[in-house]
């Protein structure tokens, strides 16, 4: 009996301890500018989301008084208990005056939420609502011209491949991902012919879409499995188009077993560190300068809704304070390959700046997978044609009228 009483008392004490109340706290400071960053994946994914998180840190470092509040992994699988609407309300309650939603997955919801909070500025990264004029006035978009980074990645892969087979791990199918996949392919074809003197038609380039921006077990294809399947089928260079690092991790494991394979990760400057010895380089986003510019504009009251497709700083694509996209060379590149890539980048730079003799890979003739014409012989794609990967993008009055994006002729994989 005594023992029962003792145990009972201990249990009651535990409950009482758990129920004891506390005093509220939280003090807001007046001289702060608070901006919210909503991430679709983890802030430490060594990919897309980490690049955005670091951009927020860059703002904090460069603008006194600026403070980031952030929520990672907002997607219906990781956080079934909340929605963008609720997160935005929390951020606004916390004092956020600018909120960046950093995924295509938030595009529709951001438009809806922006109307709820007309006094807060919203930016949906990678979206294009502001381009069509269908977005509320407090919603803008920006995106980096990653096409160039992807062309360089394709070039590096073509310089290295021994089997002539390159595998691309794609996220889901939309205009952006198809645009980037096609960019890799164009870069690879060009360099396979130009620098290696091989027939680009012999180059095998395949894409497998996993179904989302990163692995969701039981929902998407498993990128680790996709990577392994590629390597088993003779592919020796893996290129990642997803938010996370599976491609380079798997290639690193295979290389450790002695296989001659390489990888090119994506998004995050430091992604090569997963397996530096077999990394050919990484095309990455450097969002910091644009974040800083946006925060300052909102703070000054000079911000206006825009759709900005930010070019690299061609004088130095790896300048952290000026270039929106960059490409870090990986340890697996030889001196000779680096020299070729330098030359390729210089040619792209000349082309992008309209210089004589510059290289523009978006030049016809280019056909889509179904044989339809993207660009006629000698025709150079416009900005919108590249953005949507559709020949009628300039004539369309609304996004619905644009022909659905397609992979280029020669790419193995599905366009829809």
């Amino acid at each position: 009996m005594f023992r029962k009483l003792a145990v009972g008392l201990i249990l009651i004490a535990i409950v009482a301890g758990g129920l004891s109340t506390v005093t509220p706290q939280v003090a807001a400071q007046d001289d702060e500018f608070i901006f919210g960053v909503v991430l679709v994946g983890p802030r430490d994914d060594h990919g897309w989301s980490e690049a955005h998180y670091n951009a927020g840190l860059y703002v904090q470092d460069n603008l006194p008084g600026a403070r980031m509040i952030e929520l990672e992994s907002l997607n219906s699988a990781d956080r079934p208990e909340t929605t963008l609407d609720q997160v935005v309300q929390d951020m606004v309650d916390q004092g956020a005056e600018l909120i960046l939603t950093t995924s295509a997955d938030f595009e529709v919801d951001t438009t809806v939420v922006a109307e709820q909070y007309p006094d807060v500025t919203f930016v949906n990264v990678s979206g294009d609502d502001a381009l069509w004029g269908i977005a509320p006035e407090n919603l803008g978009n920006f995106m980096g011209q990653m096409e160039y980074g992807k062309m360089i990645a394709g070039c590096a892969a073509a310089l290295k491949t021994q089997t002539g087979q390159i595998g691309y791990i794609g996220p889901l199918i939309d205009p952006e991902t198809v645009r980037l996949t096609n960019s890799v392919y164009l870069g690879a074809r060009h360099c396979y012919e130009e620098y290696r003197g091989l027939n680009p038609d012999d180059l095998q380039f395949g894409v497998t879409w996993i179904g989302f921006w990163f692995n969701i077990p039981g929902v998407t294809l498993d990128p680790t499995e996709v990577a392994n399947n590629y390597l088993d089928s003779g592919v020796d260079v893996l290129i990642s188009g997803i938010d996370t690092t599976e491609a380079i991790v798997v290639a690193g494991q295979r290389a450790a077993e002695g296989a001659p394979v390489w990888a090119i990760p994506y998004d995050f400057e430091g992604a090569c560190s997963e397996a530096p010895d077999i990394c050919l380089g990484v095309p990455y986003f450097n969002w910091g300068p644009k974040y800083l510019e946006t925060v300052q504009a909102v703070q000054d009251g000079t911000w206006e809704a825009e759709w900005d497709w930010m070019a690299p700083d061609w004088s130095d694509i790896n300048n952290h304070d000026t270039s929106a996209v960059g490409f870090n060379y990986g340890d697996a590149l030889t001196e000779e390959e680096r020299a070729m890539l330098d030359e390729f980048i210089a040619a792209l730079a000349a082309g992008a700046q309209g210089e004589e003799g510059g290289l523009n890979l978006w030049t016809g003739p280019l056909n889509f997978q179904d044989g339809s014409v993207f660009l006629e012989e000698g025709e150079v794609a416009t900005e919108k044609q590249i953005w949507f990967q559709a020949s009628n993008a300039d004539e369309a009055a609304s996004p619905e009228e644009v022909t659905p994006q397609q992979l280029l002729e020669g790419v193995e994989g599905t366009s829809s």
Binding site: R3, T23, T83, D174, P175, P399
Partner: protein, 402 residues
Amino acid sequence: MSTTEQSSPASHPAKPAMNGAQGRMLWRSFLDLLPAMLAPFFGIAAALGIIFGILAWQGADPQIAWDYLYQGTLADAAKRADLVAYWMPLAITSFGLVLTYTAGLWNIGVEGQIVMGAIGATWGVRLFAEGEPLLGLNLGHTGILFMCFVLAAASGALWAALVGFLKTRGGVNEIFGGVALNFIAQTFNMYLVSNGGPWQPAGSRATETARFPEIARLDAFAEYRRLSPATIYITVGAMVLVFLIMYVSRWGLQLRAMGKNQRSAFLLGVRTERNIVLSLAICGALAGIGGAYRVMTPDVSKLTATPSGGVGFLAILVVLLASMSAVLVPFVSFVFAMLSKGGQRIESGFQWDHDLLLDRSLVRVLQSTIVLMVVLAFGVRNRFFPPHRAQPDTDEDEVART
């Protein structure tokens, strides 16, 4: 509390006196009952203790964490409304699971039944509210929403009945059948809304359908734009239904008999095969309605990539912790909903106010720890406060021991 006692086999009250004084029996029965009722709360308190210990180790003041938990859930009306909106799919699914678990069926497939319900509801929107309505029927706002819920319930019920048929006709254990059907439902859902799938709008970059048209959106409360009264009415209706089945109907007794011993129940004339399929189908219908809530709740209003996101699995934990008691389910599911939403607030609160990065898996750890601790609490209860006369024939031994 008499209903609680009935539902939980471990907490049967003492039977009328067989020997000894009447007063002593009452005291004994009270002693029996008290720990049974308190066990889950001890478990939850112990789990909170552990979690706050982990938080303290991470540098987060447990008192502040407790405060955030409160702020994120109950502190103001808007938070309470969001909490209720998240709670309802969990609660209605848990009510359904009470039936199957009582009948001794592990309906792991409930996650897939939620997904099918979500798809069914979206299908309703597409049939009656987008483009040319089916058969030219203009059902109007209420009619469309009614059809969405009917289709959601039907889809969920069908998916669950499939588990039942696989079990009764195909000899496939409901756990394996359920796991497989979960996978198929989720994959089908992804097919619909991703990679240019048939339900993804052309040129869309988000993995979801278009937002439902105005006419097919649930009305929200004037002050709380994310909470719809209709979902509350339906959930209360479902609760009443499950209460009637469990505590009034003969069918509820049959389910209990099956749960104790299916073969004996069968030999005593219970149509076990029919009851397996039927209880699964009712559970599936309720889970399907839960799926409809998930997509129709005003701040979603579209079919997303993972409409359930694990609510079904959470509901399984809820029902296990509630010892399959329909009376306890609303409370236990409410605690779980609070932990999910409060856990997220703890995470963001520490990051936003204190520059302290906590791991986002905190919520999952919290929920799992609670399950563990509650089970442990039941273990402690059985060790130190063994339920008397759970088996009448051991009565003599029990008395002798005390």
